[in-house]
């Protein structure tokens, strides 16, 4: 890489050619103030806060857009620069309403921070006299145009990160406004409620309704964890105050998602109205009784010993942690010799002999073949990456017999029976990527094997933690008939209801570990409260095979426990010395995945 020598504030530095003045300054730890700039977004030079003096240039230049050249002399804090920057800031404050005391984001606002930094203790120009309508039509967030500085971060996030292109800049000059589609109310627009625009907004123009007026940044606790809504395993930041979960933000360092989340990850868990299970409950023909965890374990251990391995059945929801699946293997399969075990979701078939890559392969592909999977409906963050590739000119071939949410964006839509045609088309391109899921039938798998060797495969599992279940070979097949003791590890997901009890005999003892009360827990003989997504600990393996950590952001309600903790207690009760640690899981999976 070519290196250029430049001078910033009299310091001689060498930086790679082609980077911007702002990037060069940041590499050297020189702070240039910015508002419209965001590390995950392209540069536009909208706010003018980053202006710097460059010798030989007629005017002050925006550092975020100006590329460095050899011998360039830059001043970032000269009197002229600071004066002009303060002027820019005063003008930003003079347009619309930037009065802090009744703004939701006061204390967490980048514009306010700039005001403090540049000592704006009064407004140089007259200010807010014009009122813009607040768009409160969206269920999850609110758009207050009066607080907007038109930095365009939301527009870029919507287009560049989510590839949804709902937000844009409408009108011109001083009438410029952020518009959703053709200036529609947000709830009537093409918004898919991913909330990424809110996450990048530097001011109080976009904010979440759920957490509004519940405190500023400094009063919140942020815990990094992993989303357990689907197999993509997006990095999240759980934001709490006083033990209440207020927001879920995308973790910019999350490897699968890089800050982006979908509606299911960002909002759905916050609005879960289902009733929790207060404490372990024992139900028999004599009635219901709340019992302690010790007694619950005693009851379960007693039944396990009584019925014997052949009459035990275990059903595991796909959200079970790696630790829980590890313990199921060690305790039930290896120690007790139980073989009647199933996961609620079936894994995607492995296409033998083909390279399986990570989601990041999507970005570099010129032809995407989606088969047996509907990522836009079920794993939206993966679909955003596909749509991003389409924006850059990639072709999309969707092979599905049902309605696929990606079909409207596809260049070619084919039936499964025509997969040969899709394989042929993809084989002609330089860098095809096949995105497939468990919905792919066996003959289609054989056809896919005939694709060019240049193709990369990405399996998108339907189940959250199916990768680990497959690696540990937990899915042993399940026969309901003989079961006299059924243990269901349901977790906090919404799948797995009374249909799991189909063909289960009336005399079967049913034990359920669940986050929320449901028809299934109403029928169970033993109900145990499971820690939910924001409470539980452990790890999950995402569809790419990456092991990711679950951190507890709040104390489990009513003494609920993580799935692996319960299994570990049960093992102890059964007199088996089986425990699990992060290393156990990592080592086991390293050899298996």
């Amino acid at each position: 890489m070519a290196i250029v020598n430049i001078t910033i504030n009299g310091r001689n530095i060498s930086v790679p050619a082609g980077i911007t003045v702002l990037q060069a300054a940041r590499q050297e730890g020189i702070d240039i103030p910015t508002l419209c700039d965001h590390p995950a977004l392209s540069v536009v030079g909208a706010c003018r806060m980053c202006i710097v003096e460059i010798k030989g240039q007629r005017n002050l230049q925006t550092a975020c857009t100006f590329p460095v050249t050899d011998g360039m002399e830059i001043e970032t804090e000269s009197a002229e620069v600071v004066k002009a920057r303060t002027m820019v800031l005063k003008m930003l404050f003079s347009e619309r309403n930037h009065f802090c005391p009744f703004c939701e984001m006061s204390g967490s606002c980048e514009l306010q921070d700039m005001g403090y930094r540049f000592g704006v203790d009064h407004w140089a120009f007259s200010t807010y006299t014009k009122n813009y309508a607040v768009d409160a039509t969206h269920k999850h967030y609110l758009m207050d145009h009066n607080r907007c500085i038109l930095c365009g971060r939301c527009i870029r996030a919507c287009g560049e990160l989510v590839a949804n292109h709902t937000l844009g800049l409408g009108q011109r000059g001083s009438e410029s406004m952020i518009n959703a589609d053709a200036n529609l109310p947000l709830n009537e627009s093409t918004c898919i409620s991913c909330g990424t625009c809110v996450q990048v907004c530097p001011t109080g123009a976009l904010f979440y309704k759920r957490s509004a007026y519940m405190g500023s940044d400094s009063e919140m606790i942020k815990v990094k964890s992993t989303c357990s809504q689907c197999s993509i395993g997006c990095g999240i930041e759980i934001i709490t105050r006083g033990g209440n979960v207020l927001q879920i933000m995308g973790d910019w360092e999350g490897q699968a998602n890089r800050g982006v989340l979908c509606k299911a990850g960002r909002f759905d868990p916050l609005y879960d109205g289902r009733e929790r299970i207060p404490e372990p409950l024992h139900r028999s023909k004599d009635g219901e009784e709340n019992i302690s965890w010790a007694k619950a374990m005693q009851a379960l251990a007693k039944h396990i010993t009584k019925v014997g391995p052949d009459k035990i059945g275990v059903i595991v929801a796909n959200r079970a942690s790696n630790e829980a699946l590890y313990l199921i293997k060690k305790l039930f399969i290896d120690e007790l010799g139980v073989s009647n075990i199933k996961m609620i979701h079936t894994p995607a078939p492995r296409i033998e002999g083909k390279p399986h890559g990570t989601l990041s392969r999507i970005a570099g592909s010129d032809t995407l073949l989606v088969v047996g999977s509907d990522p836009l409906a079920n794993q939206p963050v993966a679909a955003f990456q596909i749509k991003r590739a389409l924006d850059k000119g990639a072709r999309l071939i969707v092979v599905d017999d049902e309605n696929n949410a990606l079909s409207p964006f596809a260049h070619v839509n084919l039936k499964i029976s025509d997969i040969g045609q899709a394989v042929e088309m993809a084989s002609k391109s330089p860098s095809p990527v096949v995105v497939y899921g468990p919905g792919i039938p066996a003959p289609a798998v054989d056809m896919l094997k005939g694709i060019t060797d240049r193709a990369n495969f990405i399996a998108i599992e339907t189940g959250v933690n199916t990768c680990t279940a497959r690696a540990l070979d937990v899915n042993k097949g399940f026969k309901s008939e003989a079961v006299e003791l059924l243990l269901v590890l349901l977790g906090d997901g919404k799948c797995g209801g009374v249909e799991l009890l189909k063909d289960i005999g009336g005399k079967t003892f049913i034990a359920v570990l669940a986050g929320y009360a449901s028809e299934l827990t109403d029928k169970a003989n033993l109900v145990m409260p499971n820690a939910i997504w924001c409470e539980r600990t452990g790890t999950l393996t995402n569809t790419e095979g990456r092991i990711q950590t679950l951190q507890s952001a709040v104390e489990p309600a009513n003494g609920a426990k993580s799935d692996w903790e319960v299994l570990q207690m049960l093992a102890a009760k059964l007199g088996k010395k089986i425990t699990v640690s992060a290393d156990d899981v990592a080592n086991t999976l390293a050899t298996a995945v």
Partner: protein, 181 residues
Amino acid sequence: MAKVKIATDWLGGCAGCHMSFLDIDERIVKLAELVDFTSSPITDLKHPPKEGVTVGMLEGAICNTHNVEVARQMRERCDILIAVGDCATFGGVPAMRNIVGTAAALRRAYIETESTVDGLIPDSPELGVPLETVVAVDKVVKVDLFIPGCPPRADAFYYVLTELLAGRTPVVLPPELFTYD
């Protein structure tokens, strides 16, 4: 050495800034050894003396003709004028009425409020006439120092006054005392 004279007054505000000023607590005794509080809305003498004061402090926004008179009188009678609080520095809460306009705000407040029966917009000649636009104090008279905050912290008042007494003019408050809310 003669004591430094200080006068305060309020415009379209809520008295919160004056309350915050009193929150400097026992330090006011120490301050009283050095300064003479000639007049304020919370003392017997309400108007700054004709012979003038060194420091004048104004709380509240300019909302009506009476506020303009008070601000002008203070400006004429003081050497250093300090705008105190978010209303005096930015327009603050009273300036929110600019969004709907004065006529609509008065109508809403005195006639259309759900609890009002036979409402009447006050129009006594003794009252100041509401302005079309609420503005900060510096839009009407020259202001020398600004102490923003809603209200400004007690320490901010103390800091500014002790700095002035020491012969220094604080340009911008230090970060720990500089707040917009």
